[in-house]
């Protein structure tokens, strides 16, 4: 799975994108966030407040209950501040 990170999520994790083999037991976005959190200190710091993290699957916003089936690209980022 291609994972992409932006803004301070990217900085805390330490990379802009990576390919990770996700375990089959991860069903939802929330499962993914909790699983990533346990990978190392960077992920733990980036995802300390998982409820605050915004997520896009295949470049469309989704909520944390969204299922991961069909995902080709998952992006994690802070609330947006454009405009």
């Amino acid at each position: 799975m291609k994972l992409r990170y932006f803004a301070w999520v990217r900085e805390r994790i330490g990379t802009a994108e990576e390919d990770i083999e996700l375990p089959a037991y991860l069903n939802t976005v929330r499962d993914l966030l909790l699983w990533l959190q346990a990978r190392d200190d960077g992920y733990a710091e980036a995802l300390r407040h998982p409820e605050a993290i915004r997520v896009a699957i295949n470049q469309e916003h989704v909520d944390h209950k969204e299922r991961l089936e069909g995902a080709r690209e998952i992006a994690l980022f802070p609330p947006m501040t454009g405009g």
């Binding site: 803004a7 301070w8 896009a56 470049q59 469309e60 992006a75 980022f77 947006m80 501040t81 454009g82």
Partner: protein, 155 residues
């Protein structure tokens, strides 16, 4: 009106844009245009505190998401034209960050559509601002505001 034939112009770019040129293009797109509302957002220096804003974006999704917001605006209001341009990269105080131009036969639709576009650009378009301080060092990421979320929810 049935299916709308208005195709929005959406551009994500590093370089600046020419406001007058963009307004002129929408104004000239038909003879039943009675109202053109333009909102431009500029970088400010926060009373001399900032040297620049850095705008990070999600290439691909930024275009797609602003396109979805624009299609929704076209669905909701009888527009004759709609343009949204958002810059990324390092932007210094006084420079443009974003422009939304909404054209319609009457002013109310144009005002409302431009306001709708900006509320959703701020809270849904994948851009993140970071401050660059006056001494040239990178400062903090800008926090999202509850006011922007509240403003978005009114639609």
């Amino acid at each position: 009106m049935g299916g709308s034939t208005v195709v929005p112009t959406v551009r994500i770019q590093q370089e600046d844009f020419d406001l007058a040129e963009e307004v002129a293009r929408l104004s000239a797109a038909g003879s039943n245009i009675g109202a053109v509302v333009t909102f431009s957002g500029l970088c400010r220096d926060e009373d001399g505190r900032l040297s620049a804003l850095e705008l990070e974006h999600y290439p691909g999704m930024a275009e797609a998401e602003i396109g979805r917001i624009a299609e929704e605006a076209i669905r909701r209001w009888p527009l004759t034209g709609l343009t949204a341009i958002h810059r990324h990269g390092l932007i210094v105080p006084g420079e443009n960050i974003v422009v939304v131009i909404a054209a319609s036969s009457h002013r109310q639709a144009a005002f409302e559509a431009a306001s709708f576009m900006m509320d959703f650009l701020k809270t849904r378009a994948p851009f993140w601002k970071r401050e660059h301080l006056i001494d040239g060092t990178p400062g903090p990421w800008v926090d999202a505001t509850e006011a922007d979320e509240t403003s978005t929810r009114r639609w």
